[in-house]
Amino acid sequence: MNKPALLHMDRLSVEFRTRTGVVKALEDVSLRVARGEIVGVVGESGSGKSVMAHAIMGILDRAGRVTAGSIVLGGMDLLGASEADLRDVRGREVSMIFQSPRTALNPIRQVGRQIEDVLRRHAAITRRQLPRRAVEALSRVRIPDPAKRYHSYPFELSGGLCQRVGIATALACEPSLLIADEPTTGLDVTTQATIMDLLRELAVGRRMATLLITHDLHLAAEVCDRIIVMHAGHVIESAPTAKLFREPSHPYTAKLIAATPSGQESIDAIAAIPGSLPDLRATNLPPCRFAYRCDRHTRTCDRPSLTLTAVGEGHEVACRRPL
């Protein structure tokens, strides 16, 4: 926490206008990521974790609107920046890798060329250097025989290789922040493991800040220094990985850990979380959006202005009755 943060998101709120009402997709979400740090953002679908990534990248859906808060990356206010400045920042300072590697690549363009496209836009290098730099980018993500793969089309590559190409493209200009939105969903576990190793290496070796967005608590635990747990548009807990697992403070975090199969031998060993997410269009959402599902809920929980409160070294929780 004391390290100077590269990405500093402060009390961000995002709303989506829909036909049936305004969805409060994010509310008062704060986040810091330092250089060389991997921060995991964990939550179930509808928790707002992808919305957060899109807000940082400035690629929110047109129905979405930032209603409050700020996002500062390396001293630059991303929300106040012009579209031209943002385009400069995207790709050079902050890059994103997406969930479906195959659809994120242009199917009719050689992968090497796609990396060159990014380089040409952002890096100050000559035309003649482009191919060499593209091959370098491919070899950096441990693609075997990068000079040959340069000429491959996405359909010729396996899912794992496609994701590596996606990462290579994202890293081509050596961004200071990488946002990985469910980068291994749909990939095999063995491939997932190697991709995660790669992310870890890049964070350590290049001091790159990484935001790993995932629904898999254990996947985040494997590579992340710090984990942020989201529920229904709120950050409900933020803690160093070991601490989060050893002493989860928010009832939802504890339930999530208990509900995730992780080597238990019997079905009785995992716990179910009853209920479902509240309707985020409701005007009378309780201060704690987990209140409906929480068995520790009392009247104190309904008091307004619930904020993240420190309960330990680098450990914050948004709960009036933490565990």
């Binding site: 179930e44 199969p261 031998e265 019997s266």
Partner: protein, 343 residues
Amino acid sequence: MTALLEVQHLRKIFPVADTKGALRQMLQRGVPSTSNLHAVDDISFELRDGESLGLVGESGCGKSTLVNLLARLSDPSSGGIRFQGQEIGEVPAQRFRAHAARAQIQVVFQDANDSLNPRFTAFDNIAEPLRRLERLGGAALQNRVTEIAERVGLPSELLRRYRHQLSGGQRARVNIGRAIAVNPRLLILDEPTSALDVSVQAVILKLLARLRAELGMSFLFVSHDLNVVRLLCNRVLVMYLGKIVEMGDAERIFTDAQHPYTQGLISAIPCYRPLERTERLRLSGEPRSPIDPDPCVCRFLGRCPRSEHRCQTEAPELVPLGRGHASACHFHDTASPELRASA
């Protein structure tokens, strides 16, 4: 326990056109040569009555093809499938709908959304197999569907809804209700929870375990998530490129895996391990092509951390290791201790 399902030397081979240089080939030889994709290649196993058998493997290993064969949705190229002592592999898939075993083998599909007919209500989705296979109608049908909805924990007022009006968990319940409606003996679950959120997954897994206990079904549980398999299965088959590379009791597979692929698979499970910071076993490289595989080469060659000369000249057979455990590797008895430790 007696065998509910016996699979003997089952094969499914798909001819694929060799597109590379097809024109040149045609000019030279007159016809383009065809190759064969060995999706399921000589698989034999047994599923005992009341057992829950896990089937794990990566995408493209032939799991789905095997499921289609066992559910009798497609015809095997060769080999036999015996169900309750009766050969059902020879009945063409086209005509299997009229077979007595049709109701006995049902499938829960991966994508609960995709497996519900968008133009049917939840009621109709569950009622369809009852109407067709048990010729139920009227009040009898109404009662059965309500009973099934109750069994899978679906509030009966939701039966009138269409699939897009149901949440992910509710769809999963309808999907399961549809599959168990006709009281199958064998329920094939094809990645039933992989598209669900963790909180919903836990609920659905518990539901499946309860249903199996209540109805005495046998499960063939297909998944890539070994943690989930471990929760629900007594025994596990590990498939790699159309072959079974290891099988055995679930606990033995998880604690004492013999095949390097299984070891790599288990080692790759993401898991919070606070104490060990040991090096994990990583499988690098790309799988070999399933098209016309060389019968004299181990299929795992190229990704295996301990391949030797012998692996390139002789494909390993599935060798029994005692107590129902078997593995297809030349080196299982000499597997290095550090590999075992990491697994």
